[in-house]
Amino acid sequence: MRWSAEVHVRLRAGIADPEGLTIAGGLRALGFETVHEVRHGKLLQVDFDAPDPGSAREAVASMCRRLLANPVMEVATWELRAIDEPGEELRLA
């Protein structure tokens, strides 16, 4: 089966995020005065094969732990979908 994982990587809570602070300042300058905080991160889309949902979840967890996020400073969360064709979303895993 083919799978698509959307992996979100963020700085861990409590670690200063100067890019987020700067973006929050920009939003306030535009008049979005109710903005309390922005946390900045990155999004990675990983398209891969795995035989079943369990092994797909295990693979994404391992990818995050071993490369996509540095656990010293970052936390990764992800959404996983089974796909038939690249780009086509069929069902949630």
Partner: protein
Amino acid sequence: MSAPRIAVVVFPGTWSDRDFGHVAGLLGWDVRLVWHRETDLGGADAVVLPGGFAHGDYLRTGAIARFSPVMRAITDFAAAGGPVMGSCNGFQILCEAGLLPGVLLRNDHLEFRCDWQWLRVERTASSPAWFGDLADGDLVRLPISHGEGRYYAEPAALDALEADGRVVLRYTDADGTASADANPNGSLRSIAGIVNEGGNVLGLMPHPERAAEAEVGGTDGLRLLRSLERWLSGRPAVAERRL
């Protein structure tokens, strides 16, 4: 002994390799530039990972460099007690490769900072290879040049580093006082350089190779390299394990 043999590692995007090579040449050392795909260090006495932007700093600084074939040879060399220095991007690579603890984050002010910086030398006994010619409390003035130099580790890890005497360089002002004003990137506890448990692996954000000739503004960087030379002269060469 014969002149030290130094391996200067070159990743795609490394930019300080020739500066290190130039300075090692001035000292009369035998310099070998080692491409990142090589798997042995050519019998080097010491290894330098220079500054730059290895593999474009993609994903995170240093994150992709750890997959370069040469990193296995460097890990073995370090484990055998061989002296390794990672400067700037080299420090970031050593952290991502797990040879040093912690991580270097985006500077707190978001600027790329290129400047001369005062640093206080501490705990020299922890690292005779790199600091044997310096004394605790010595001040050195070295160039910094980075956008991601904010040292971070968890509080318990920082306490352990301090307790073990592994924080060897701190950002200070010209009087040797560490403060928020003298800290160029927001590093926790003003940390600019640390060593591993054995003291043979040094990571530092400043560039010693850019302070090796009076004509370019200072020679304090030579003090680390002369320490290495003296240390090497008093010990047998590290036997390199070929992979």
